[in-house]
Subunit: 294 residues, 2 copies
C-alpha cells in the first residue's frame, strides 16, 4: 500500500463493564466516523448500547473473547466500565490458564493484584493491542482551565500547588492518585481505599473526628472549617489502560460534603464521566473544577 492510501480501519472493540462510560466512548469514536463494536461483559454491562454493533462476551471465557475479536477483525481494544464481582480467584484462574503462569507472575509481580494488567497482557499476546480511553476518546478527559464553578482564588490555588507537589513526591512509590489539601496542609492521601473513601474520610474528620482534639501526644488538629481542594492526577508511569483516574457526579457530591472549595485534575490525565451531569452538579453546588497542566 502506498503512503497516504487507506482502507476502512479495523473496528475498535470496547470491552464494557458497568456504567455509562463504555457508551460515552462508543459515541465519541462513532462521531469521528470510526468503526466500533461494543463487547458487553455478560451480567455486568448495564448501559444502553443501541445503535452500536454488539458482541457480548463472558468474563470467565477468555478463549471465547479472543475468538470473537478475531471474527470481528478488531484492530484495537479499549476496556472501560466497572466490574464488581466476588469469585475473583476464579476469574484470575481462567485467565491464568490461558496465559503462561510465569508471565502472569512477572506481570503481577510481588504478589501484586492488578488482574487487569494480566488481562491486557493476555489480549495483546493474542494479537490485539489494548489502548486507553484517552487514546480513543480524548474528549472525555478533563481539558485545561476552569471547567465548572468560579475562579478558585489565591488560597485554593496555593492548596492546589501543594497537592500537585505532594502527588509528585508520592508518585515513585505508586501511592496517591489523589490528595486533599486545606490551608496548605495535606489532610488525606488516597492509597488503596479509593477517592470516594478518602473524601468520606475528610467529611468525617470535619464533622466530628478532630473538632475536639487540642493537646494530645498525637497531633493536634483543627479542621472544622470549610475550604480546601482535592487534587487528582495519574501516578507517573501509571498504565492508563488498566487504571484511569476518574471524577464524576459522585465525586462532586462527596467533595461538597467534605466542605471542599473545588477539585483540580490533571488536564488530559483524568476522565470526567457523565460530563454534563458532573459539571452541572458542580456549578449548582458551587464547587469549582479546574484542569491543570501536568
Amino acid at each position: 500500500m502506498s503512503p497516504g492510501a487507506s482502507s476502512r480501519p479495523a473496528p475498535l472493540a470496547i470491552i464494557a463493564g458497568a456504567g455509562r462510560l463504555p457508551a460515552e466512548i462508543a459515541a465519541e469514536v462513532a462521531a469521528r466516523g470510526e468503526a466500533v463494536v461494543v463487547m458487553p461483559l455478560r451480567g455486568v454491562a448495564d448501559a444502553d448500547f443501541a445503535g452500536f454493533a454488539q458482541e457480548p462476551i463472558g468474563m470467565m471465557d477468555p478463549a471465547g473473547a479472543v475468538a470473537a475479536l478475531g471474527r470481528l477483525g478488531v484492530g484495537r481494544i479499549v476496556m472501560a466500565g466497572t466490574v464488581h464481582r466476588p469469585g475473583l480467584g476464579l476469574v484470575l484462574a481462567a485467565w491464568q490458564a490461558a496465559l503462561n503462569r510465569d508471565e502472569i507472575r512477572r506481570i503481577v509481580r510481588g504478589g501484586d493484584d492488578n488482574v487487569l494488567r494480566g488481562v491486557i497482557a493476555f489480549l495483546e499476546h493474542s494479537g490485539f493491542p489494548v489502548v486507553g480511553v484517552r487514546d480513543v476518546a480524548p474528549g472525555l478527559m478533563a481539558a485545561i482551565g476552569l471547567l465548572a464553578g468560579r475562579d478558585p482564588g489565591e488560597s485554593a490555588m496555593a492548596d492546589i500547588a501543594r497537592g500537585v507537589e505532594a502527588l509528585r513526591a508520592f508518585g515513585p512509590l505508586d501511592v496517591g492518585q489523589a490528595v486533599v489539601v486545606a490551608d496548605g496542609r495535606v489532610l488525606a492521601v488516597e492509597a488503596a481505599e479509593g477517592t470516594d473513601a478518602m473524601l468520606r474520610r475528610v467529611s468525617a474528620l470535619r464533622r466530628h473526628g478532630l473538632l475536639g482534639r487540642l493537646l494530645r501526644h498525637g497531633r493536634p488538629v483543627l479542621a472544622e472549617h470549610r475550604g480546601g481542594v482535592m487534587v487528582k492526577a495519574p501516578k507517573p508511569g501509571q498504565d492508563m489502560r488498566a487504571d484511569l483516574p476518574v471524577i464524576g457526579p459522585r465525586t462532586v457530591r462527596l467533595a461538597v460534603r467534605a466542605g471542599l472549595a473545588g477539585i483540580a485534575v490533571e488536564a488530559g490525565g483524568v476522565l470526567v464521566v457523565e460530563r454534563q451531569q458532573t459539571l452541572a452538579e458542580a456549578e449548582k453546588l458551587g464547587l469549582f473544577i479546574l484542569g491543570v497542566a501536568r
Copy 2:
C-alpha cells in the same frame, strides 16, 4: 561554681493530660533521682499521681500556670497525655491573649492549627524551656530490635523497607507518620486522620471494600489476604515536644484486626505507651513489634 560541682537541679514539670503517660514519665524521671512535679490539667488528667508533688493547673489560665511554674522553681517542662475538648476556640483565645497575636500567627502559619506549638512558644517566652518526652524519659521510647513477637521474616522485612522509603518521601510534605504496606504495596497513608483511623480503614478494606473489585476504571485491588506491616516514625523536622508518635495496646489490637503481621517503629522516635501491656498483647496476639534504626 567549679566544673563538677552540682546543686539539686530545678524540678521537671510534667503538664499532664489524660492517660497514663504522664505518670509513666514521672516514674522514670523519679527513678533516676531527679526532682519532678506533676501539673495535672484540671478536668482532663485522670491518672494516679500519688507519690509525686502535684500542682493542678487550668487549661484556660495561662497566667496561673506561669505563676505556679515560677513558684515551684521549675527548670524544664514536658507536656504529655491527651486532651479532648470542645471549645477549642476559647482555649486558643486565652493563650493568644497572653502572647503577641502576630507571633501566634507566625507560629501557626498558613492557617495551620497546631495550638500546641503556640502553647510551647508561650511557655518558653515565659522563661521555661519545653522539652520532649524522649529527652526526659528515653526509656519509654521504642528500642532497636525485636520488642515483641517472632522474627518478621523476609516478606515483612521487604514491606518494612518499602514503608520506611515511603515515609521518607512523604516527610518533606509534612504528611504521614505512618503507612501500611502489604506485598510491597502501600495500602494506606496516614495524614490528618491519625493512626487508629488508618488501621480501621485497612480492616474495612480487607473485610469488604476491595474484595469485589476486579475490573473498573479505578484501580483493581485484591487485598483480602492477611499480612503486611504498619511502619511508624516521626516526620523529619517534627517537633517531638508537640507531636510525638505513639503506639500502645489499642494500636496493637487495631493492627491485628487489620490482618497485619507486625508493626515497625523508628527506634528512639516512637513512644510505646503502657509498654508492658502493649508488648504482652502483641505477644499474645502474634503480632511482631520491631524497632528499626532511623
